[in-house]
Amino acid sequence: MSETVVEVRDLSKYYPPDVKAVDGISFTIGAGQIFSMLGPNGAGKTTTVEILEGLRNPTSGEVMIFGQNILKDYSKLRKRVGILPQNFEPFDLLKPWEAIQYWTQLYDIRITKKEINRALERVGLFERRNIHSKKLSGGEKRKLGIALSLVNNPELLFLDEPTTGLDPKGRRDLWALINEIKEKGTTVFLTTHYLDEAERLADDVSIMHKGKIIAEGSPDNLVEKYGKATIVVLEGAGSSGLQKLKEKGIDAHLDDADERDVLVPVRKHSEMKSMMCTLASSDINMADIYTRRETLEDVFLNLVGSKMEDGVLKE
């Protein structure tokens, strides 16, 4: 196991009168990993991140970063961490290169023009260095935010929902960037409410819900542990197909992505063969039949009891 960068024990944060935003969570983050905290709106992600950033005081519990208690003296840690706050928008009327220069100077670091250009190149903004930041696209603004969070060469980087509100391309761009940052050896704490994002990027995921961590592990681990079943997909079977299955007492539901496919979870491997026989011999009209492994999305559904879209829990 690699060395531990962050160690959180029994952390709680209550807001008056009775909001338990964070309710006794514990986790560790190993050096060089991407740790993702996944959860819907109001789960307590930002509260957790900001406690770790020294921006909020915990109600109880202990947080060690680089082996140092954060409540003791954060100023030493400050040099070693970088942060991208939630909903970050760069300074409207500064150009990207000016923003980088400014921010670096606030860390008492001298920076040359060349180094500024390199920092901009790293996040793919070199070409856009000379326009006012308010004219950047949403994705570019986040990239600039990440560039700013990197000016002090942090060993630990906090990214609070870096891709929220971006289009698919913007998100993929940022994923690539975050992976590059990881490759340079930086440990990344990433919050998100996109399941695919966590699955793609994270070495370790903790699913947070109502202030508690309800599951933790690598994406594969989680699927293995909390995935209830392999899924048999009856493509194009539709609601009439679902009806027939229900009559036979088979647990199934429509894929709510298009409402055409019927999904049949099979819980035990040993039951798979007989289920396939039953399904194949039934008189259901379908275009195709195949099996699919569950994803984090299904894990989340199993654990929380509802789906999550853009951070909002669905029925």
Binding site: E53, E98, L106
Partner: protein, 372 residues
């Protein structure tokens, strides 16, 4: 130190690039002084009444006055030849008068005949602090030059000699409404820029999580406050100078730019920046910020003698004015720029400063870059 400089520069850059910021700092006060100046000065350019005593026995003195008259700038009024011109100026409180000596034509003739070097003088009495004086000198010099040219071509004969009739400050200066008004506009500009802009800056910084970013860098809260104060001071000095010179150039303004005025502006910037931060602590978003800043700023603007002398207001409003920092800022500026009473100006300055210190202490105490 480097952090403060960098923060000042980068905050300044953004401010100067924002059209609203520039408008309220540099364009608005100039506009106001032009508009109000035009309204209260009665609009239109009227002729300057020019008193002249012509003792010349020949024709050149009349020729000179005729030429001056044809510029259409003046209504020329003759001073009777039996009066002493200096006495006359005093009795009639003139700010400018022209004197043509007895041997004017004769002396010119002498110079032409014998081709002697030297000059014949026309004397212009005047108070250099008045803009009419400059106009008269300019016109008289132009006329003299024209006559010289007609008389002999190149060699100048007729010369204008200005004589200052306002030595020192004892000659009472005639103040206009605009003189009263200028310090009010400057004070108002100090308030709008530091108070309004600071309040909305604070709200924006909170909403956009800039405070959180700042909190993770090395800059300290007080350094950030100081850099805002430095920037507003420089900006408002510029606004003061600009407004002053425009007022001076366009209107017959007697107010002066004094060193104390610059100190008052700096202290005013400090006080209102701190006040803006204090207000910025309680507001959560930029819309709320401008609502609150307006609610505080506008009554203060009207009740602090910005547009009307305080004495014009009923007693109870004067009491309200007595608790507003802008009142003291305006009074201080007026004391030093218009009444040249630096003693009073310093008292007002001290009051503004004390209020500012209180605001600053409260602001740095209660402003938090973190969340509880």
């Amino acid at each position: 130190m480097n952090r403060i400089i960098s923060d000042t520069i980068n905050f300044g850059k953004q401010y100067m690039r924002s059209r609203i910021g520039m408008f309220f700092a540099l364009v608005f006060p100039v506009l106001i002084i032009l508009v109000f100046g035009a309204i209260f000065m009665g609009g239109g350019t009227s002729k300057i009444t020019l008193h002249a005593q012509n003792l010349d026995e020949g024709s050149q003195g009349d020729a000179f006055l005729n030429a001056l008259n044809s510029t259409t700038l003046f209504d020329i009024v003759e001073i009777p030849s039996n009066e002493s011109i200096e006495q006359y100026i005093n009795n009639n409180s003139l700010t400018v008068a022209i004197f043509i000596p007895k041997n004017f034509t004769f002396d010119i003739g002498e110079h032409l005949l014998f081709n002697e070097p030297g000059t014949v003088d026309i004397i212009i009495y005047g108070d250099p602090s008045k803009s009419t004086y400059g106009t008269v000198i300019g016109a008289a010099e132009a006329v003299a030059e024209g006559m010289n040219f007609r008389l002999i071509g190149k060699i100048p004969i007729i010369n204008t000699v200005p004589i200052n009739i306002n030595p020192g400050d004892d000659g009472e200066t005639q103040f206009n409404y605009i003189d009263f008004y200028l310090p009010g506009i400057v004070g108002f500009t100090v308030m709008t820029n530091s108070l309004f802009a600071m309040t909305s800056t604070c709200a924006e910084y909170r909403q956009r999580n800039y405070y959180k970013l700042l909190a993770t860098t090395n800059i300290k809260k007080w350094e950030w406050l100081v850099s805002k104060f430095i920037f507003y001071t420089l900006l408002l000095w510029l606004a003061l100078v600009l407004t002053y010179f425009v007022g001076r150039a366009v209107f017959d303004m007697q107010a002066q730019l004094t060193p104390i005025a610059f100190v008052i502006i700096a202290v005013g910037a400090f006080t209102f920046t701190a006040m803006g931060m204090l207000v910025g602590i309680v507001v959560k978003d930029p819309e709320g910020a401008s609502a609150i800043a307006n609610a505080i700023g506008f009554p203060m603007m009207f009740l602090s003698g910005t547009f009307f002398p305080l004495e014009m207001m009923p007693d109870y409003l004067q009491i309200v004015a007595g608790v507003m920092p802008l009142t003291y800022l305006n009074n201080g500026l007026r004391d030093t720029m218009v009444y040249f009473n630096d003693g009073n100006a310093l008292i007002n300055l001290a009051i503004v400063f004390i209020i500012g210190i209180v605001f600053f202490i409260l602001a740095s105490k209660f402003m938090s870059w973190k969340e509880k």
